[in-house]
């Protein structure tokens, strides 16, 4: 009668997706524990950090009680986790503002910048990669590779100062300070973030371009490409129709890595352009030992990272017939 317990047959892809999703959540839970432990392990005492050197023992004790620092770590971890699950990230220790609200706006800015940079960088990198693969070893390939490798080799802040000099002083078409505010029109916002977008595009272009080029060249060795060639297809059609679809998995995983970088790793660019986003907010509060904020932002960054990697996995599976139809 065991058959009666079985539902309709589950599609293997769906099963795989559910598995991946569950794995991602489990990973996130583990990360939350690691973040909490890491913050716990920081030397020093939060109450002391807030009150400074003039703190009296009584004031310290009061504040510790108020912040619940006297509870055992496990209790505090689950209290925090419970809060996170219900959308309550707690209160910032340094200025008493609601963390979720503060993060909300800044996360929006982070995603806006990352999204704009990705919208330009990803198609551009793939296109350049295709062109470089088509003319592998010839001058277009060398120019593209040389130029993108140069821009990735520049530290972000050097590239940033360079574009500030070039595009606000020599050819004054953009603004060096990229703050965006609610109430600005979409175009005004785009104009404001033009320079950081340019810098980020320069920084992430090479990695994705090189991977596209390598993956396609790899596929080009296959027998079916030879067949296509013998059928008389033009090189670009061959690459686009036959090589690229089979090179998607490695390209996607590199694209996702770079997207994750655009969201979580651009604090230097944010500082140089005074862009009011999440990275700068995190660094501000790390130095102030504002632990609830550090935990919350850390968790968000981890979630973004896990989500994008999971997405890369799933797309890789869907793009690969052998993984899509496991025997």
């Amino acid at each position: 009668m065991l058959d009666g317990l079985k539902g309709p047959p589950v599609h293997p892809v769906l099963k795989l997706l559910v598995q991946r999703l569950a794995l991602g959540l489990l990973l996130l839970l583990a990360v939350s524990a690691v973040i909490f432990l890491g913050v716990e392990a920081l030397p020093g005492d939060t109450a002391q950090a807030i009150l400074g050197q003039s703190a009296t023992p009584q004031a310290l004790e009061n504040l510790r009680n108020q912040l619940g620092l006297n509870e055992p770590a496990l209790t505090r971890y689950f209290a925090w986790l419970g809060g996170v699950l219900t959308g309550d990230l707690g209160i910032s220790l340094t200025n008493g503002s609601d963390i979720a609200t503060a993060i909300g706006q800044r996360l929006g800015n982070t995603l806006f910048l990352a999204g704009c940079a990705a919208a330009i960088a990803v198609p551009l990198a793939i296109l350049l990669g295709l062109v470089a693969a088509r003319y592998a070893g010839r001058w277009p390939d060398k120019v593209i590779s040389g130029a993108t490798l140069t821009t990735i080799s520049l530290p972000e802040f050097v590239a940033a100062y360079f574009v500030i000099y070039l595009l606000t002083q020599v050819i004054p078409i953009f603004q060096p300070v990229a703050m965006v505010f609610p109430g600005m029109s979409f175009w005004a916002k785009l104009n404001a973030i033009a320079l950081p977008v340019i810098v980020l595009v320069l920084v992430v272009l090479a990695h994705m371009m090189r991977m596209t080029r390598a993956a396609i060249l790899n596929v080009m060795q296959s027998a079916y490409i030879e067949t296509a060639e013998l059928k008389g297809l033009s090189p670009m059609t061959m690459i686009w129709r036959h090589a690229f679809p089979n090179a998607i998995a490695p390209v996607v995983s590199v694209v996702m890595l770079n997207l994750a970088y655009l969201v979580v790793g651009v604090v230097v660019v944010e500082v140089v352009f005074s862009y009011n986003a999440l990275g700068q907010y995190l660094v501000d509060h790390v130095t102030k030992r504002d632990l609830p904020v550090v935990q919350a932002v850390g968790l968000i960054f981890a979630a973004v990272y896990i989500l994008l990697n999971m997405l890369a996995d799933i797309i890789g599976i869907l793009a690969n017939p052998r993984l899509r139809h496991p025997k």
Binding site: I164, V177, D284
Partner: protein, 531 residues
């Protein structure tokens, strides 16, 4: 009338119309044989007298803001909160550029001959941003709030000297514990913004009687203001809107001024001041003031609790080199006490301490230090060029055999985690209008901001005596002795007094030099206008 004087008149006329900037005026005047100093003063006079244009939006690009800043004037410590509070707030009295008193919310100040009781007549009909009318009770409540230790006020040391505060009608009477001839100047302290009801209910409301109302307050990002229609003084507060952008990165701030995104910037890096001065449409204002850059040692913590150690470090710093390399010549050398010729009653006869590695080595040996590294903490934002200055200091000290090492700290959080916490770090002071206030803020034993932990009974005694002393000669002698105590026993290493260096766009008019502080003592946005 000679040709030269006719030309000068013509130029003055152009300045009056806002058609000529400071640099051009001084350049052309000196070509006519007028000294640069005189030309500067003349420009200031004419510029101040010119007809102000109303309206427009002024944007400031500012160093010195953090995402943890608060609007509570009691806890303001860095440049942006100072400037923000000066925009929405108003004090009883302010200081004029030439060191006099500027009557703000008080109309008249008078005292008994022994300087024990002071009366402030409160201006009538002044309105707060919330519509409330200013009363003497608001003034007393404000001062009382700052006396409360809970308020963590930077002005605590000042208001603690007041024994009794009384409000009667439009008169506020302050009875002091000890006589103080400088009391009105103490009331110009930037923490003492008068708030409705003293700001007791909500100290961070940002509601005052100043010329502008806060619109957006995003600490560490930006602060925007709108003109307060019912401001009592129609002679200032010219632009309609003010936008202060926090741009802590030097390069970005400079680029923002060059590209016209902001109209005024503070803290021009001395390294680029000359280059920036060559940019069309930008003028550099370098104002000698009372501000100074310091390396501060806690006198109560090892190894700095040993005066030989402190003396060794004071002798191991090359002051001349600092002024030339760090300030780019835009400043003057210091003598390890916080007073210079910009203060009244300054004693110029105190011998200048010079760089003396041999003496430094001797003192170091006498201190009996075990040779472990002496750590000097510094962040780029401690003052412009702070990291370079610390490295120069370490190099000259190492040359004298002192194991000084520099530890780089992050900018953000420096003022809460390092300054006034760690025993040896770099810092700066903006200076105060009178000696008494500078010493009471940072050198009296009980001062909250005694950042060198200098505790000297004789010094405290002299501070009190000089405070109530009406005989100027005696007073000067007392200040002189105090200077020597700080210089020879204190924890402050004061290699240089810095000029306040700001960059001002030609789109801004009405700028004048104010030695009381950076950015026209925090009032540039209120007193200048859009040309």
């Amino acid at each position: 009338m000679t040709d030269a004087s006719r030309q000068l008149d013509h130029m003055i006329e152009r300045v009056r119309k806002g058609r000529m900037n400071r640099r051009e005026f001084i350049g052309r005047s000196t070509a006519l044989g007028v000294s640069a100093g005189l030309a500067g003063a003349l420009f200031g006079k004419v510029a101040m007298a010119q007809e102000a244009k109303k309206g427009g939006t002024m944007r400031l690009g500012m160093y010195g803001g953090e995402s943890t800043n608060s609007l509570d004037p009691a806890v303001a410590a860095s440049q942006v909160p100072y400037q923000v509070n000066m925009t929405w707030g108003e004090m009883l009295v302010d200081t004029t550029p030439d060191g006099g008193l500027d009557m703000r919310l008080a109309e008249e100040v008078s005292s008994t001959p022994d300087a024990m009781e002071w009366k402030f007549k409160i201006r009538s009909g002044v309105e707060f941003h919330n519509g409330q009318t200013l009363t003497a009770d608001d003034v007393v409540a404000t001062l009382k709030r700052h006396t409360d230790e809970q308020s963590q006020s930077g002005a605590l040391g000042i208001v603690q000297g007041i024994a009794e505060m009384k409000a009667e009608g439009d008169m506020v009477t302050l009875t002091l514990k000890e006589a103080n001839a400088d009391l009105p100047f103490l009331m110009t302290d930037y923490h003492l913004m008068i708030q409705p009801g003293g700001g007791v209910d909500n100290p961070t409301a940002g509601i005052g009687a100043g010329p502008y109302v806060i619109e957006v307050n995003e600490p560490g990002v930006r602060h925007t203001f709108k003109k307060f229609a019912n401001y009592f003084d129609s002679s200032i507060g010219h632009v309609d809107e003010i936008e202060m952008l926090v741009i802590n990165d030097n390069t970005a701030r400079t680029a923002a001024l060059q590209s016209g995104q902001v109209h005024i910037m503070n803290r021009v890096d001395p390294k680029v001041a000359e280059l920036l001065a060559g940019v069309p449409g930008v003028t550099i204002s370098s104002v000698p003031g009372r501000g100074h850059y310091v390396f501060i040692m806690h006198c109560d913590k090892a190894p700095f609790d040993n005066n030989d150690m402190r003396m060794a470090l004071k002798l191991a710093i090359n002051r001349q080199e600092m002024v030339e390399k760090i300030l780019g010549g835009l400043g003057s050398i210091g003598n390890d006490f916080p007073i210079n010729a910009a203060y009244p009653l300054f004693d110029a006869s105190i011998p200048q301490r010079t760089f003396d590695p041999a003496m430094a080595a001797e003192h170091y040996k006498k201190s009996g230090h075990d040779g472990s590294p002496i750590v000097l903490r510094v962040a780029p934002g401690a003052f412009p060029g702070a990291v370079d200055a610390a490295n120069l200091f370490a190099a000259s000290a190492n040359g004298a055999g002192i194991p000084l090492s520099v530890q780089l700290e992050p900018d953000d959080g420096y003022w809460s985690n390092v300054w006034n916490v760690e025993p040896f770090c770099a810092s700066y002071w903006g200076g105060r209008p009178v000696q008494d206030q500078m010493y009471s803020t940072a050198y009296s034993s009980t001062a909250d901001w005694n950042d060198t932990k200098f505790k000297n009974a004789r010094f405290d005694e002299l501070l009190l005596a000089a405070r109530g002393e009406l005989d100027q000669d005696k007073r000067k002698a007392e200040y002189s002795e105090m200077a020597l105590l700080v210089r020879d026993e204190g924890g402050v290493i004061l290699p240089m007094f810095n000029d306040f260096v700001c960059g001002v766009s030609d789109k801004v008019a009405g700028w004048y030099d104010d030695p009381n502080g950076d950015m026209m003592a925090g009032r540039a946005q209120v007193r200048c206008w859009m040309a």
